[in-house]
Symmetry: C2
Subunit: 269 residues, 2 copies
Amino acid sequence: YRGKEVVPGAPEAISGLKRAGKRVVYVTNNSTRTRVAYVEMLEDMGIAASIDDVFTSASLTAGWLAAHVKDDNISPKDVVVYVIGEDGIKNGLKDHGFVLAEDQDFDAGKALFGKVRFVVVGLDRHLTYHKLDIALNCIVHGAAFIATNDDASLPMEGGTIAPGAGAIVQALVTCSKHPPDFGSPFGKPNPMAFHEIARVTRTPLKAMVAIGDRPETDILAAKRAGITSILVLSGITREGDEVPDGMAPDAILISIDELNGLFPHISRH
Amino acid sequence: YRGKEVVPGAPEAISGLKRAGKRVVYVTNNSTRTRVAYVEMLEDMGIAASIDDVFTSASLTAGWLAAHVKDDNISPKDVVVYVIGEDGIKNGLKDHGFVLAEDQDFDAGKALFGKVRFVVVGLDRHLTYHKLDIALNCIVHGAAFIATNDDASLPMEGGTIAPGAGAIVQALVTCSKHPPDFGSPFGKPNPMAFHEIARVTRTPLKAMVAIGDRPETDILAAKRAGITSILVLSGITREGDEVPDGMAPDAILISIDELNGLFPHISRH
């Protein structure tokens, strides 16, 4: 999709893949919306999806953090997280049982600085200096610094752009002199996105195909995960654009319509 | 000084320099306070100073910008500036006659995006996402990106730190993919700070001596400007600390008290 507009042919292509017995999942670097909001957005575009089909950088981050603390025999309900972000990441963390530190906790004596275990940073269109200050001091006091994604900017309607999660992440990297921990950001092009999807959907990476319109996120993440990748020239990338080194997809489709030609005779196995 | 405390011996050392016929000026990377506020702060510490003796990264930036547009035969009153910053930089620009674009101008149609000629970024403890968004779009529409200083963080009372101007600057560098223009940031260690002071005070660089407690800003700026530099171990740097490569001062004083020993017999010339 572009903004609220569905790419022509996309619903039909998705239906075709499903008829061919393929599981279709949706992966976005946007950490602001909840998975439920994406299901509703897809429905509005004529695409039927369930919450389990939607993976956002927020849901991937929250899922990974939950698995990580459980590996240490710690329950998320004993883990305090400070979030710079919106509903997508906040609800994702709450769904996994994490305790969110609210701003007002810090105003009352900043007693929680040493108690926050993770600072999770995504796009927050209500960012304030106060939030950066709290996040910085939590990191200085030992919290791990987790970034949902590092998209520098967001394309907006009318050709303007807006600051992305990556801008907020770099502000914190600068003042804390501390890069994000655990190989985060968790969004594409981090291959962890596809590894996590493989784990959750119990699908081997070699059976997965990633389709996207951004070489520097979609295709690079797929290549890093060893997944077959298809670049579609229906969005950000246009015919004749140079694809940067190391981001060459396995196939290029001028239009998503061509997708059905690729998988017509494959039946459910 | 440290916070609101004067370094013991500093007022006496400054008096001694003045008695020896030296002009004493004060240079700070802080862009939030006005020069008048610094004069008052120095007075509270028992140090007499006039506004012309105080140079802040804000006053240096505003002065340089005014000289720059006048070189192009443009009056500052015809130049619209968008500021992320506090009183120091806002008043500095107004004092030079620049027109400040206020936030509400942008809310009403964002009509000024292409009209803003400079985006000036300093420390702003009332930073919001909205301000970053406006600054980004002004830069995208051709405004020059000016940074007052790039201090990553500020030391605070009680051992905590706070995000500095450099964190805000890096957020904008990230989303605009545009480094600051004209060799800004204008604060130390940019030698432009001392070049500008030399110009304004009509003092040759070789006649200047810079005294400071930070090798990475005070001493480095002095060395880059070719000024004799003295590191005083009364503040951020302590005896036994390693001084990084390229930041070795011409002299080191354990205490500011020793300063009078260096200039006892020099009379006004």
